[in-house]
Symmetry: C2
Subunit: 211 residues, 2 copies
Amino acid sequence: MNAGTEAPRRTRIQQEKRELILEAALEVFSTHGFRGSTIDQIAEAAGMSKPNLLYYFRRKEDIHETLMQRLLDTWLAPLRELDDIGDPMTELRSYIRRKLEMARDFPRESRLFANEILQGAPRIMPLLAGELKTLVDEKAAVIKGWMRAGKIARTDPWHLIFSIWATTQHYADFDVQVRAVLGPNRGGDGRFEDAARFLEQLFLDGLKPKS
Amino acid sequence: MNAGTEAPRRTRIQQEKRELILEAALEVFSTHGFRGSTIDQIAEAAGMSKPNLLYYFRRKEDIHETLMQRLLDTWLAPLRELDDIGDPMTELRSYIRRKLEMARDFPRESRLFANEILQGAPRIMPLLAGELKTLVDEKAAVIKGWMRAGKIARTDPWHLIFSIWATTQHYADFDVQVRAVLGPNRGGDGRFEDAARFLEQLFLDGLKPKS
DNA sequence: CAAATTTTTGACCGATTGGACAAACGTTAG
DNA sequence: CTAACGTTTGTCCAATCGGTCAAAAATTTG
């Protein structure tokens, strides 16, 4: 038992420097992808020399791995909170809002994840087919219950979850495009509130005119 | 006039080989990103030696640039076709369907584009703020007209377009994740039809129960 | 203080990168 | 056939890559 997962037993300096490196690596990895990023870049962003960085993380992959492990937990937290108690429509609405807030507040995390998936998820494939699938299946069952109870319209729960992911993360992953298209006026800080209003209406009523 | 854009005047072999290279480069770039791809990789995928490839494209960037230029035209074609004639709801529905078909049939093009945007669109930023913004603004005006005429519900046309992009392209860009979550049964070829059905309902009626 | 330990650094290494180049090869027109 | 032109290849290069290592510097511990 516990083989390979011994207690890290880290120094104060080690903890601080590792955090510094992870913060810098998040910045670099999320904008250039794994292969597109260099250790030198990360080291410079962290304000230390390359060999010094390699003293805290032996390999480039270790940094990325640590980053991804932390990411998944916080990233899936909103979905985990989606619970059977409470009004279904309210639950879904607040899930969408929370996801959109994460896209606004943690765009780098979103892009890091998007980069990984785009390139075939070579490093987290097992997690997707394992932990993630289990969680989504579980929540899909909850949603299906709501549908059977007539609380929300009958559709495919899995694709519903996908559409929430897609629409919210879009504002982090495609941020440059969104801002470029909206222009300097509407592309300012208010764009997330506009998006929130739009998404609420879309997922509630769709586009059919009220007539 | 015509400075820097002289007629290419290419040989038959040149045309064929350039196509071969672009096809190979699309495959490589779309899965590894620009910096993550090597000329050797592309050359091997195209079945030729690296110096041979560099005979047809002097620099790695030239390949990527040519690819992106072609991409944008075909990629925005469906939006260009969104026209004022015909029933608005039908127009939007067929736009969504066409975008989803493109995600199914040209996933590499979608990923190439996503990769570029994710990394800040360093090579196509002017196009986004220029040609793309103009097109979207134009179509947003069309949609706004539909709203004023009471043909579809009143919302933000720009964010509506974003949400269509996000939901459809998701099935190309995040394909690995979609398949992993859906599992071997539901993640097969039928997933695009399921997605089409779901998106149609979402954009038409939303999630509110029919009661 | 002094010893032990942890942290930082500069120098270095082999592999890979994008790209240059001249020579060889193939093709075609006269 | 031969000269001209288009194509392909092997070889080479400087820069950069991820990573090592011994030694210096800083810190902690006794």
